[in-house]
Symmetry: C2
Subunit: 198 residues, 2 copies
């Protein structure tokens, strides 16, 4: 029965260990939206009014640097949340754009409904506390990886932690995320494959 539940409600039950929470309490706060590959969900310098939960597909968050290059900072697969959290919290313009890398189904909530949801359903405080606790813990490791680790070690760690990403994300965007040139990434992948085969 729980397999038929909406993925967000399954995720809330899994994270909070609260088996009582039902779709009728949660889903009315959200809209479902479908996006095509390459659709833009949030544009840089536009007001950030939406928070996205990925039901199916893959999103990326990026900004355009002074030279006009798109720099990817984050990916979101199924059961991940994505927005410019600082802008969403404070009702400001987004510093980042968000784009679908695959055809995507997402839940969308605005700030008013996000706050209402937290007021009406105390278990959501626990849910988001745990979601952010994990995300924040992971971000510390990320800072360590980016700033202090040799590039090939960083790649190996990333490959071990997020194998799905390597399959689903286009080379050029993955290279930008890792801070590599596309040529360096392709060389690294070739070496890794040769190592596995030998």
């Amino acid at each position: 029965m729980s397999a038929n539940l909406h993925p967000l409600v399954q995720h809330i039950r899994k994270i909070t260990a609260d088996q009582e929470i039902g779709e009728e309490a949660v889903l009315p706060f959200f809209d479902t939206r479908l996006f095509k590959k390459k659709d833009i969900l949030q544009q840089e310098e536009k007001l950030c009014v939406h928070y996205f939960f990925v039901v199916k597909g893959c999103l990326r968050l990026y900004f355009t640097d002074d030279s006009g290059t798109e720099q990817t900072l984050q990916f979101a697969l199924e059961n991940w949340w994505m927005t410019d959290l600082d802008a969403f919290r404070t009702g400001r313009q987004s510093v980042y754009s968000i784009q679908a890398l695959e055809p995507a189904e997402v839940l969308v909530i605005d700030a008013e409904n996000y706050n209402l949801l937290l007021q009406k359903l105390p278990v959501m405080e626990k849910y988001f506390r745990l979601v952010y606790e994990r995300a924040y813990a992971a971000s510390l490791l990320r800072v360590q990886m980016i700033s202090r680790m040799p590039k090939n070690e960083f790649y190996e760690l990333f490959e071990g932690k997020y194998p799905d990403f390597l399959q689903r994300i286009p080379q050029k965007i993955l290279a930008s995320f890792l801070g590599f040139t596309p040529e360096y990434l392709s060389e690294l992948r070739k070496k890794r494959v040769e190592k596995k085969l030998s």
Copy 2:
């Protein structure tokens, strides 16, 4: 009257806007500890059993890299929380060390009491949800700064956002945090001072 409240309780009231919460409900879950400058609060590769709230002073979180150099990843001033959050959550060994950079007064809580506190006082779910929400939002900006920003811009942004840090943190440690050599940092500071005076 609220000025006499313990800083943690003041912080909870400020963040959650709940003016009912009192010291007697919160403080029994914590111990108060005093540390001298340079004292180690948490050692790398030891079990991570403590979460620290800074009442007074300044802590840093760091690890020792393969070449034996201490690499600083985070600072905590008054009203900040610090631990190896991933290790604390999961009861594992800490990847990081934590050291007092100034004489410090901290509150200490262990994982059992942290979970009890969240169970007994639902407002603490909201408090930590908001603490992590902010920390996580800031960490995204941090990733952007470290990985994609010219070093002098990164320094200016850091200076604008955390002016206290520049006064209180030893040059050598600040340089390590910023990913600079101490010489580069000292040159940059000289230039910034000259610019302000001119």
